[in-house]
């Protein structure tokens, strides 16, 4: 009984771990753009959060109207740069594939 349990566990483990290798015919190789895209997406999310935080800081009195407008303008400018870079990279990745 013990032996049977161990054999069943082994078979299940081999099936789980080996499944991606059985589909290897497609030979998916990671493209370098993938990592860069992820970096930019993360930077964009962080920038959006920064814009929202600045707005909340303004609404709760921590930033004056003038300071907030200047900061918001700068942050949105940085977000636009990130979006442009993201689009360029996506276009490049699409062209390669």
């Amino acid at each position: 009984m013990d032996f049977l349990i161990i054999v069943v566990v082994l078979c299940v483990v081999v099936a789980i771990v080996g499944a991606p290798l059985r589909r290897r015919g497609e030979q998916e190789v990671e493209s370098p753009e993938v990592g860069e895209l992820a970096d930019l997406e993360a930077a964009k999310e962080a920038k959006y959060r920064e814009i929202r935080d600045a707005e909340l800081d303004h609404r709760t009195g921590k930033l004056s109207e003038e300071d907030w407008r200047a900061l918001d303008r700068a942050l949105r400018g940085e977000a636009v740069v990130l979006l442009k870079r993201l689009d360029e990279l996506r276009d490049r990745a699409a062209a390669v594939s």
Partner: protein, 731 residues
């Protein structure tokens, strides 16, 4: 089933080794199939270890004494609840729990990151599986929970009485969850350093796990403190014990990390600092595990001397050297993208808080390892006690609590003088009012340090309250909602920010409880007979009667006490000390029931104003003569049975029944002819606020941890500025 258990551990070890190889190959060759196979090895590992841990739990619940670990840590008389927890009271079981939790959390992070952090994930997978392999090596070769006994005993030794406490169901799993969850940002940091992908991506992918680790470790620490308060019989929550300190150090550095990563996320700054903090946290988590297991430092929480010290030291050495080497090698990639704009900014406050937390950790590290340091330098092992720790940690805690209030008021980048005035005037005025009230209304002026601390706590709570109020007002200006609805909406939309503020408030309340309950505590150790009274902090506590409860599991000797104030009944306290039978037969047939291990049941009346705490330590001296007589008589009876050759079950059973009756009769003597018992009474103000503060902190942590609504990531073809506005409005 032990064979299956041992085989499962070997299968798990093989899976972990394969996963390391597959992940590294996939990362180097950039082949997704191999990386995926490595990732699946983690899932398989979690499955195999779940089976193994289930087998061990089943052995404990069945009282299967053929398992060595069950025979030495459980018994048939151990209640089922504690049988389930006994698995991690042993070195062997706790190592298995550690690696099982690591496999579960590793699987969760790999499922959640999905196709993100593609380059880092395979390296992180290899690191996580490397840690799992280390712990599996220990469980297979050093402390195997599936080792069996050639001749299983009829009865087990039983669970250590001190571990029979409800907290013990959750305290170790929470601590281990904290330690193992901290391994995740550690592994991803290593992955980011190796692959040179050092932007905010890995931070974002693991931020929630760092927060989860911080939360779990914090809950584990608080449960340990609660256990100490209600079980250990000394009335305190923290003794600066090495093992307690070992859990606090990664928590402190983890706290620094979860604050400073926000600076990296937003400003691309402090990359070297952040990566160093997370690598230190991961290493300190392993150091904490090492301290519990190696027995190198004396602690009531440790498993005692073992052979695990050397493997752990090798692992810690490799982690430290590898971390330092990687950070130095990648220092060029870790350059900050921006500079600090102003010393009056959220970034600067976070930095100061980080420095204080690291200093606090260093003080605790120094005090904890001082016995080893002093032994290495002078040849004599000397240790430092609570007064030494208090001398350095109290001022640092002061500063931390103050910063918990200041931080939320300060915006990112810079704060103008006008904004300083707007934000700080009200909290400072409130703190001043509190100072005046405490000086003239309460007796707090007797202790200026405690008084100052209470005022700082008041300031911090006022800061957080002001922030919440301003947030509600801002929300109302837009949505015109009633205040409670606006508060809920505000917190829901800004979970991380307001969850964090709630954590700050909870932390301040917790430290308020600690400061007040220790500074203004009244404690007395007295010897009382039934009918006698003692006065503690204005409360008259009368020893009403003695009680005894002989049970199969333990014999409890205790007292019922009446507490009154100015003649009015306040509460009735019940406290007892439970004596568990020893396995050592040299203590005598009757004596082993009274001279084994013991634990205290604390009598506690908890209240928002103060706790009244007591514990009894019955003097067994007057019983020793009767116990010795019982030992002599039963030994004679045994010898007589043996001499007659009447070893039948019936006569031995009869003798055991007589023994049990004698043991019960001896216990009853404590009630029928009572004598003086030693009591400790403690009246401590605001002690309950420690636990309330902890609950608020956990609540805030959960709010911050809870995922925000998913940001829509559809591509918009409109102009970029409009697209930013649109995407911001959607999230």
């Amino acid at each position: 089933m032990a064979t299956v258990g041992r085989a499962l551990l070997i299968v798990a070890f093989a899976v972990a080794l394969y996963g390391i190889a597959a992940s590294i190959y996939g990362a180097v060759r950039r082949e997704r199939a191999w990386s995926d196979s490595g990732r699946r090895a983690v899932y398989a590992l979690a499955g195999v270890l779940t089976l193994a841990f289930g087998l061990l739990e089943a052995a404990f619940l069945r009282s299967d004494f053929s398992f060595s670990v069950v025979a030495t840590h459980s018994s048939t008389t151990t209640p089922a609840f504690y049988k389930a927890t006994a698995a991690w009271s042993s070195q062997e079981g706790s190592l298995l729990l550690w690696v099982w939790l690591l496999s579960l959390w590793s699987s969760l992070v790999l499922v959640l990151v999905g196709r993100r952090v593609r380059e880092i994930a395979p390296v992180a997978t290899a690191v996580l599986l490397g840690l799992a392999s280390f712990f599996l090596t220990l469980t297979i070769f050093y402390a195997n929970p599936f080792d069996t006994l050639a001749i299983p005993p009829a009865e087990g030794v039983g669970l250590n009485p001190l571990l029979r406490h409800p907290s013990m169901m959750f305290h170790p799993p929470m601590l281990y969850s904290g330690y193992t969850l901290f391994s995740i940002p550690f592994a991803f940091a290593i992955g980011a350093l190796i692959t040179r992908r050092l932007n905010a991506e890995w931070v974002l992918a693991t931020r929630r796990f760092a927060l989860g680790a911080w939360l779990c470790l914090g809950i584990g620490i608080v449960l340990g403190a609660r256990w100490s308060y209600t079980e250990l019989g000394w009335g305190g929550i923290w003794a600066w014990d090495p093992v307690e300190n070992a859990s606090l150090m990664p928590w402190l550095i983890g706290t620094a990390y979860i604050h400073s990563i926000m600076i990296q996320e937003k400003r691309g700054m402090l990359k070297v600092w952040n990566v160093s903090l997370v690598l230190a946290t991961g290493t300190l988590a392993i150091l904490g595990t090492f301290l519990v297991r190696s027995g190198i430092l004396d602690s009531i929480h440790a498993f005692g001397a073992s052979t695990l010290g050397v493997p752990f030291l090798i692992l810690i050495g490799a982690m430290v050297l590898g971390s330092v080497g990687l950070v130095i090698a990648r220092r060029g990639d870790l350059r900050s993208e921006h500079q600090l704009d102003s010393l009056l900014s959220r970034e600067a406050v976070f930095l100061l808080q980080n420095v204080i937390l690291v200093a606090l950790c260093f003080v605790i590290f120094w005090g904890t390892f001082f016995p080893l340091i002093s032994e290495a330098v002078t040849g004599t092992r000397a240790s430092v006690g609570p007064p030494w720790f208090d001398k350095y940690t109290v001022p640092l805690a002061f500063a931390l609590v103050a910063l918990a209030g200041i931080g939320p008021l300060v915006p990112w980048r810079r704060m103008t003088v006008a904004a300083v005035r707007r934000s700080f005037v009200a909290p400072l005025l409130l703190a001043l009012a509190l100072l005046v009230a405490l000086l003239f209304v309460s007796g707090a002026r007797a202790d200026p340090k405690a008084l100052a601390f209470l005022v700082v706590v008041g300031f911090t709570l006022a800061c957080v309250a002001q922030e919440l109020w301003r947030g509600i007002r801002a929300r109302q200006a837009v949505a015109r909602e009633p205040a409670p609805v606006a508060l809920v909406a505000l917190v829901r939309r800004n979970r991380r920010r307001y969850g964090g503020y709630i954590v700050h408030a909870g932390f301040a309340v917790l430290l308020l409880g600690v400061a007040a309950s220790t500074s203004f505590q009244h404690a007395r150790d007295v010897s009382l007979r039934p009918g006698q009274s003692v006065r503690v902090d204005g409360f008259d506590i009368k020893y009403v009667r003695a009680v005894a409860k002989p049970e199969a599991e333990k014999i409890s000797l205790g007292a019922v006490l009446d507490v009154s104030k100015r003649g009015r009944h306040v509460t009735t306290l019940r406290t007892s000390r439970g004596f568990y039978p020893a396995q050592d037969l040299s203590l005598g047939i009757v004596g082993r029931f009274f001279n084994g291990e013991a634990e205290s049941e604390v009598g506690l009346r908890a209240g928002l104003g103060r706790d009244i705490w007591t514990v009894i330590n019955p003097d067994l001296g007057p019983l020793q003569r009767i116990i010795a007589e019982g030992n002599r008589r039963f030994r004679s009876a045994m010898l007589a049975i043996q001499a007659k050759g009447d070893g039948s079950q019936a006569s031995i059973g009869q003798l055991y029944a007589l023994r049990d009756a004698a043991v019960a009769a001896v216990a009853r003597r404590f009630v029928t002819a009572p004598w003086s018992s030693q009591f400790r009474f403690i009246v401590s103000p605001l002690a309950t606020w420690i636990w309330i503060g902890a609950i608020v902190t956990v609540l805030g942590g959960l709010i911050a941890l809870w995922p925000a609504p998913l940001t829509a990531r559809r591509r918009v073809t409109a102009g970029y500025a409009a697209r930013v506005a649109r995407e911001l409005a959607r999230s």
